[in-house]
């Protein structure tokens, strides 16, 4: 059923992917110029690979379910899910998964095509199989983390009417804190350390860092561990928010 629904909205799905790619593409253009002039930082190949990976990872890890959850809590539509015999979150998970598959239909083949036709334009690091072995679990963890975090922001609507505004704050903050505007490796050290204490780095930057070999094997394992811990914490938080929220929730207008 979800498949059919998403297929109806083909143009929108393509436009969403394009829009999601626009910010990393602009960052790529900027940082590529920097890498040409500054030999000490990332090489041009690494910069190119990093931002193309960011686009790819962002398409896979993006979550927007909080937007709908917040609206449905605010206008009372959430009731129609509450009376169904399975948890509401399943809806979001299915919707999210199906939409991802559609969104990947164009970028994934393109990505693979470029990877094998112009291997020298990319950083040689991404052809190392062991990096992929660590990258794939890290990408899956990032996906779960992003989804659960977004769910928490949606649940804020139980308490705050401005939940949508707060979500948009999160989206802007995420641009910096997940490494879309600036690669983590090029940030000033203090900022880098501070942002590493937040979950956003583990959603976009960490999988890319692992695949690009910016983290050693041991560091990669450590990063995977951090991702798992964050997921655990945020699922606990989401569960608490959901329980507490439902207890105090009064459906508007009914």
């Amino acid at each position: 059923m979800e498949w059919g629904r998403v297929l109806e909205y083909r143009i929108d799905v393509i436009a969403w992917s394009l829009a999601a790619a626009s910010i990393p593409l602009v960052s790529l253009a900027l940082w590529y110029n920097v890498s040409l002039q500054n030999p000490t930082g990332l090489s041009p190949q690494e910069t190119l690979t990093y931002f193309l990976l960011v686009i790819f990872i962002k398409i896979i890890t993006d979550a927007w379910n909080g937007f709908f959850t917040a609206w449905e809590i605010l206008n009372g539509d959430i009731v129609k899910y509450l009376i169904r015999p399975f948890p509401m979150i399943w809806n979001d998970i299915i919707n999210n998964t199906v939409e991802k598959c559609i969104k990947l239909l164009i970028p994934l083949p393109l990505f693979i095509f470029f990877l094998f036709s112009f291997p020298h334009t990319f950083s040689p690091q991404i052809f190392i199989p062991s990096h992929w072995l660590l990258f794939i679990p890290s990408l899956l963890l990032a996906l779960i983390l992003s989804f659960t975090l977004e769910t928490c922001f949606g649940f804020l609507a139980f308490w705050l009417e401005e939940a949508q505004q707060i979500r948009s704050f999160k989206n802007i903050f995420e641009l910096v804190a997940s490494g879309v505007l600036i690669p983590f490796i090029l940030m000033p050290p203090t900022v880098r350390t501070a942002l590493s204490f937040l979950p956003f780095r583990y959603i976009v930057s960490v999988p890319a860092e692992i695949l690009l070999g910016q983290a050693s094997f041991n560091q990669s394992i450590q990063l995977l561990l951090y991702q798992t811990v964050w997921i655990f914490l945020i699922i606990m938080l989401a569960y608490t928010l959901w329980q507490k929220g439902l207890q105090r929730y009064a459906v508007p207008g009914q």
Binding site: D12, A19, A29
Partner: protein, 269 residues
């Protein structure tokens, strides 16, 4: 003078709408302040990016740090003007057509395109984006090692106005598609696609996309060319080109809108 009487009438309609919007916006005060704060955060994120870039290099594609800040600031001001007056109104058109409330627009005693474009006035964009942009602009000017002369200022202001016309026309052209394909939720995404590259010097793009964004889809003329004027990079031929492009796109947008409107069939009847 029918034209004068007409524009006086439109001015009165716009003033009444704006008054209503302001009252509405003040009713949701926390949203209003959070909106301003959001624009502040956005600006801070991009200033931080520029700061970081210039901690790694002296100049990027020939642009110094204060000049890059001028582009960012100008993009904030221009987008702020657009968001205050018409971006949201036009971008809402698809959902209005889909819900069928576009019928009400058609029955109003003011021109449809005028009402669609200028229905609501967004004060938080004025304060957040234009205010933040102006502050950044003044700061960047004080950091420049040269001062632009009066000519540069006048040309920049003229170019900003042609840029606004070009952007407005592009939006109307895109929005007119709704009359052909009925559903156009994607308009918001296209909007992001158009506004995202405005914040950077176009010289950083590779040749093909740069030329495409200058002539085919003339985004360069919205922020980048005015910024070239104030930083003394403008070539003489760019000024008439900007005016010609603005005229061409405005005419195209009006033609597309009219053709689209003739095809319109209400959603509910």
């Amino acid at each position: 003078m029918p034209f004068l009487a007409n524009s006086r009438y439109l001015w009165r309609v716009w003033r009444a709408n704006t008054r209503a919007s302001l009252i509405r916006e003040m009713e949701f005060r926390s949203n209003f302040f959070l909106g301003i704060l959001r624009q502040g955060l956005w600006l801070a994120a991009f200033i931080f990016m520029i700061e970081t870039i210039f901690s790694h290099t002296q100049s990027i594609a020939g642009w110094q740090k204060p000049e890059a800040l001028i582009i960012l600031a100008l993009s904030r001001i221009v987008e702020g003007i657009m968001d205050t007056f018409f971006t949201h109104n036009i971008a809402d058109l698809p959902s209005i057509v889909q819900k069928g409330s576009f019928d009400f627009y058609l029955t109003k005693p003011s021109p449809v395109l005028f009402y669609t474009s200028f229905k609501q006035f967004y004060l938080h964009s004025t304060i957040g984006q234009i205010g933040g942009g102006l502050a950044t602009f003044l700061y960047a000017l004080s950091q420049l090692n040269y001062q632009p002369n009066l000519n540069a200022w006048l040309i920049m202001i003229l170019l900003v106005m042609t840029g606004l016309i070009i952007f407005y026309s592009l939006l109307i052209l895109l929005a007119s598609l709704v009359f052909y394909i009925e559903r156009l939720e994607a308009l918001w995404s296209f909007l992001q696609l158009i506004t995202e590259p405005l914040t950077v010097p176009f010289d950083v793009f590779p040749t093909t996309p740069r030329l495409a964004l200058t002539y085919a889809l003339p985004l360069a003329f919205i922020v980048f060319v005015p910024a070239q004027a104030i930083t003394g990079r403008l070539q003489l031929w760019q000024l008439p080109t900007a005016i010609a492009l603005a005229a061409i796109f405005l005419i195209l947008a009006n033609l597309a809108w009219r053709a689209g409107l003739r095809r319109y069939s209400s959603a509910s009847s």
